[in-house]
């Protein structure tokens, strides 16, 4: 699906591409299911879209574009297999073994595209693949991004991304990573990896780890789309609901999160009128689903924390006791130094800066917080509130040196400068 010039008018091409992108994951998953080979599936899917770009501008977009694309792609695949006997024999072996491993699913009754995307999720996010490539594969195979778009989203050269994708696909093929949904007994072990891959796409988009731009909204929006598909495919999995809720509730703040100059705006200072209310409502409803009917998972709890922020009409109305309590739950479920850092900040809001600072100082030796600029920044904020200006300034300077993005650095410099004319210490 890397576009080639076919001479189609740009507008028609754009509308066809929009259709194709929506259908891409479905199409690819169906083809993978049928032929058991990701490369062949991608190749014929790409040929089908090229055919669509030739025919649709003249003949109009068919009533069921997905079915048209699938039929065309299948025909191409059969042609290809007729031409290449060796390849066909290899695929035949693959398919026989795949069927031996797993019974075929019931045929799709509606006549539209059967939804085989869940298996593709589990393949792309397979633990045998490098963690940093799983998100890229999801974007390529399920969100329908081209390699160039995936590369841009990750701020790496296209050639680098192409190489990573080729290597990952080669491992899928040669080590025979299967296209299958793990059984109920394996699911608790495998689902967190899929959720984590989608979440990594989101965090990468939400806060660029380096470079001039703080947010890459496109990538975050793609992650929301992936989480939405996953939740639709696994409606009974509460953590899939929790992940979608979390992403929606955080993504709802996107317009308020940066100032006009691109500088980050802290949660407390954001203009809450600019939060996306529809997205918040959807997220809040999902939080209820994620926390109902069993012990909560880490995404559900994080979503509940995000929901409490969303429900506060202004920062002073935030329910900090409840948030601090949820961080206690999160620490028990999925302890990490970063969670501990956020918990300390919530405790500081509930019990005052001294209590928070004591918790932060207890994290001083954590290797995972070394080099993590939010840690000295959080210390600096609390030291400033306690009127310990000199120590606060030193901590801000430490944070500035560690921050990866220019807007983050600028914001920390502003907070450092504000120390000079700070109001008298609180409490």
């Amino acid at each position: 699906m890397d576009g080639k010039d076919t001479g189609a008018p740009a507008a028609a091409r754009a509308s066809v591409e929009a259709v194709f992108r929506e259908e891409h994951g479905l199409l690819l998953a169906s083809l993978v299911r049928r032929f058991g080979d990701l490369d062949l599936a991608e190749e014929v899917a790409s040929e089908a879209v090229e055919a669509a770009l030739r025919h649709w501008p003249a003949e109009g977009v068919p009533a069921r574009p997905g079915a048209w694309l699938l039929t065309t792609a299948r025909r191409r695949a059969v042609d290809r297999l007729r031409r290449d006997r060796t390849y066909a024999d290899r695929l035949a072996v693959l398919r026989v073994e795949a069927e031996r491993a797993e019974p075929a699913p019931p045929a799709d009754a509606g006549g539209g595209l059967p939804d085989d995307r869940l298996q593709l999720f589990f393949t792309c996010a397979h633990p045998a693949l490098p963690a940093e490539d799983r998100g890229a594969l999801l974007l390529r195979c399920l969100a329908g991004l081209t390699t160039a778009e995936t590369a841009r989203a990750h701020l790496v050269p296209t050639a680098t991304m192409a190489q990573r994708i080729v290597r990952a696909k080669r491992k899928i093929r040669e080590a025979r990573i299967p296209f299958r949904v793990p059984g109920p007994d394996e699911l608790p072990e495998r689902l967190p990896g899929v959720l984590a891959a989608v979440y990594s796409v989101f965090t990468e988009g939400y806060a660029a780890s380096s470079g001039p731009h703080l947010q890459r909204a496109d990538l975050a929006a793609e992650a929301v789309r992936l989480a939405r598909i996953l939740h639709r495919l696994m409606p009974a999995e509460r953590e899939a609901a929790g992940l979608l809720a979390l992403l929606l509730l955080v993504h709802a703040r996107r317009a308020a999160r940066t100032g006009p100059d691109g500088a980050p705006v802290l949660l407390a200072d954001q203009d809450r009128a600019r939060w996306d209310r529809a997205m918040i409502d959807e997220g809040r409803a999902l939080v209820v689903a994620a926390l109902t009917g069993g012990s909560p998972g880490p995404y559900g709890v994080q979503a509940a924390i995000a929901a409490l922020h969303a429900e506060a009409p202004h920062a002073d109305a935030t329910d900090w006791p409840q948030i601090a309590a949820l961080y206690d739950v999160l620490m028990a479920l999925a302890p990490s130094p970063v969670v501990a850092l956020n918990r300390a900040a919530a405790v500081a809001m509930r019990d005052g800066p001294e209590a928070g600072l004591a918790l932060l100082d207890g994290l001083a030796g954590e290797p995972r917080l070394r080099g993590h600029h939010p840690y000295p920044a959080a210390r600096a904020d609390l030291l400033a509130r306690l009127g310990r200006t000199a120590e606060a300034a030193a901590a801000y300077r430490e944070a500035i040196a560690l921050a990866g993005t220019d807007p983050d650095k600028a914001d920390l410099r502003r907070r450092l400068a504000a120390l000079a004319d700070a109001p008298p210490p609180q409490r």
Partner: protein, 116 residues
Amino acid sequence: MKYLLLIQTTSVDADGAADECTVEDWMAYDKEVRDAGVFVSGESLADLITATTVRVAPSGERTVTDGPFAETREVLGGFYVIDVPDLDAALDWAARCPGSRGSGAVTVRPVADFSA
């Protein structure tokens, strides 16, 4: 599809058994692999002190040295070759192998197939 399970052990006692599993564990696993019909081959290797390495220089000169000089902490203790449909099945057999417990690890390598 054939997969090689390379059983890496960090420390073995004089009998070649690691702390984490007993001879009975290995016998039970071996029986499972054979009963499931996935066994192709498998051996347990003698102690590392018995290993010898051979290299042949471009001149044809042969060098024989004692051991591999195991600076790495992991030592190859044995292997299985199994025939299963896909990587998930191979990983499952690797996870059930006593050699994957505690300080041990099992590396799964697909066997290259040149017949297709």
